[in-house]
Subunit: 387 residues, 2 copies
């Protein structure tokens, strides 16, 4: 099969390397502004012009690994309209433009697949779809951001400071120069949207998903929770309930003896619960050149061989509804005022800081409070207590 | 697709229920001596005669869920020779007759698949094969016997006695009336053979795999290990090294903060390490009517839709060779004699029992010693220390 790669960064080159091992995939064009060091033998097939790919009738499938929404969206649309299958690891694109792109693929009789958009090298989305062939998904949840897990694990393990560990994560290449999308939860939010859309055959938008990250966590939070036998992780969660589903992203405190609590360094752990099969978890490297590149090529092989799982984009009537989502939280707050007091079940005060365990609180309420405090530049961190 | 089910016990009825949900699978014959309570509407399609299935040209695929090697082998051979695909969860059969059955399937241009033979509801073997399309498996390992894990978890968690927990496992239906194949490791051994054959494209026989179970573990072992921060699990392991691979089954002590140590009740956790993708783990229910029944139907759907992963039975030159497999062990022994002393690094004596940590010992040597002591009716238990 003749294919092209758009964007020749970390994932694009990982896909290139994996394709060599898999065999039977002929990479004939690469869209890039310039060649990549170590890949000078590919200079002849590099082009900065999307038309060289979209208008080439020999190319049957295109890998989009540019990242971001624009111009990835326009390039993917051009390829789909030209009758080419598209494979992408781009969660930003699929989160933002899922229905539009799936509809365009269907209209042109081609496939769009993105197994690598959540969980990197872990065959999460593929197996989620496979389970749906003969079961019904009740819940999806997981640790899907390796950078946050790396930071949280080091804070737990070594008692390290948040800022210090973020800096090390950046030096190791886990976190971007601008790490906000990781630590504020936006990356997890996008993966939640992509996963939820497949799990429930729905189309949820990013602004329907309450999202709080770990950017306000401090070593005192980790120490307090550790003392109670709890470990904090940043979680995506979507859970079916009748005709709707809860869906949100928030820090969550797990018992030290749970699988989630024992996910180390930058690994991911993603879990589904289905009606018949019960709970299944998938663990591994959620990012990186070879893991993500391999998942991209797995999608290419599935499409080439007619083995991809079916996707029915937006075919269900299930809607996002967090109005009944309620649980207890750990909350650190700088004072015990009339806004916070009604929520609190038990608390300890130490050096003017209040470490609290809440009564059951609505998820939407808790997130609103968190964002409000953050906007005002006030001290606050919260983590749901895992059920 | 018209199919038949041979054997209508727990897994056969789970497959029947799942097929109803999946749709497009028409169960036209069931091989059984008599009907099943609650399934009286199927009495008309029940037959005790294999010829009614093997000679029916309408039946394209047969599920074998009789269990055991005979007559399952003969019935499966009859179906393959009649040009029918076969799907089976029967690890005893696939462990004992893998090459013969795969060759017979190939000779007749049909498929034989057994995703559910290891890990029950966990899509372990399917994803192992999928990874092999573009990567090389270096190691497979895992907790694949839910009964043993249930017993070991309860012993760790509640300080319970082995015999007491075995009895409860039997009452809950996790363990058979004769639990020897679980607790002596034979069930794990067979799953190891099935997994290893796929991981390394080899054909290994059961007697090439050193195997020790958990039948001699006592609460004092669990307590000693717990004090050292270790948790005992029964593990399968196969690891590639050059032109050969190590392969064995033995109790293994994991640090309390590892994923393996935190596998609760009767769950399974199975792990692969591959050259490019690194380490991936798969967690869930390793047995049971609906989980195993669903994996059976997943194989049926894959064959029906041409989506099954390729198997090249015995195509590699890799051979089993444990001569270089060496590690440290925890050993409980009733005396410090000239046979045991050379192996021991450190030990504690308490009430005439020696709790030891060994120097690095050859796996084959350690297993030989274990079996020798057991034959003599002497007290001994050992567990490898996880690397």
């Amino acid at each position: 099969m003749k294919i092209a790669i758009m964007g020749f960064g970390t994932v694009g080159s990982g896909a290139y390397e994996t394709a060599k091992n898999a065999g039977g995939i002929d990479i004939v064009r690469i869209l890039a502004r310039h060649g990549r060091p170590g890949y000078e033998h590919l200079d002849d097939i590099i082009t900065p012009n999307i038309d060289d790919i979209a208008n080439d009738p020999e190319i049957e499938l295109v890998i989009e690994s540019i990242g971001g929404v624009h111009p990835a969206r326009e390039y993917v649309l051009a390829c789909l309209r030209a009758g080419k299958h598209v494979v992408t690891p781009n969660k930003n694109l699929i989160s933002a433009c899922y229905k539009e792109l799936m509809d365009e693929a269907a209209a042109n009789g081609v496939k769009l697949r993105f197994t690598s958009a959540v969980g990197g090298g872990i065959p999460w989305l593929f197996n989620l779809l496979r389970t749906k062939r003969c079961d019904e998904i009740e819940e999806v949840r997981g640790i899907v951001n390796g950078t946050c897990n790396y930071i949280l694990d080091a804070m737990y393990d070594k008692g390290a400071d948040f800022g210090e560990m973020l800096k090390i994560a950046q030096e190791l290449g886990y976190a971007e120069a601008d790490p906000s999308s990781d630590i504020e939860g936006t990356d997890t939010l996008r993966k939640t949207v992509v996963t939820t859309n497949l799990a429930f055959d729905t189309v949820v938008s990013e602004d329907e998903v309450p999202c709080c990250g770990i950017d306000t966590i401090q070593s005192c939070d980790v120490a307090y929770l550790k003392e109670k036998g709890l470990v904090c992780k940043l979680m995506m969660k979507a859970k079916r309930s009748g005709d709707s589903f809860e869906v949100y992203v928030e820090p969550t405190a797990f018992p030290a003896g749970s699988l989630e609590a024992n996910v180390k360094v930058n690994n991911n752990l993603i879990t589904l619960t289905a009606r018949d099969i019960g709970t299944q978890s998938f663990y591994g490297q959620g990012a990186g050149m070879m893991p993500t590149g391999q998942s991209v090529i797995q999608d290419v092989l599935d499409i080439r061989d007619g083995k991809e799982q079916a996707i029915e984009a937006g075919s269900s009537a299930l809607k996002a509804d967090n109005s009944k989502a309620v649980h207890r939280y750990y909350i650190r707050h700088d004072r015990m005022c009339e806004h916070i007091e009604p929520f609190i079940d038990i608390y300890e005060e130490k050096d003017g800081i209040y470490y609290c365990i809440s009564k059951p609180v609505a998820v939407e309420e808790m997130h609103k409070m968190g964002h409000h405090r953050k906007e005002k530049g006030k001290e606050m961190f919260f983590a749901a207590l895992a059920e």
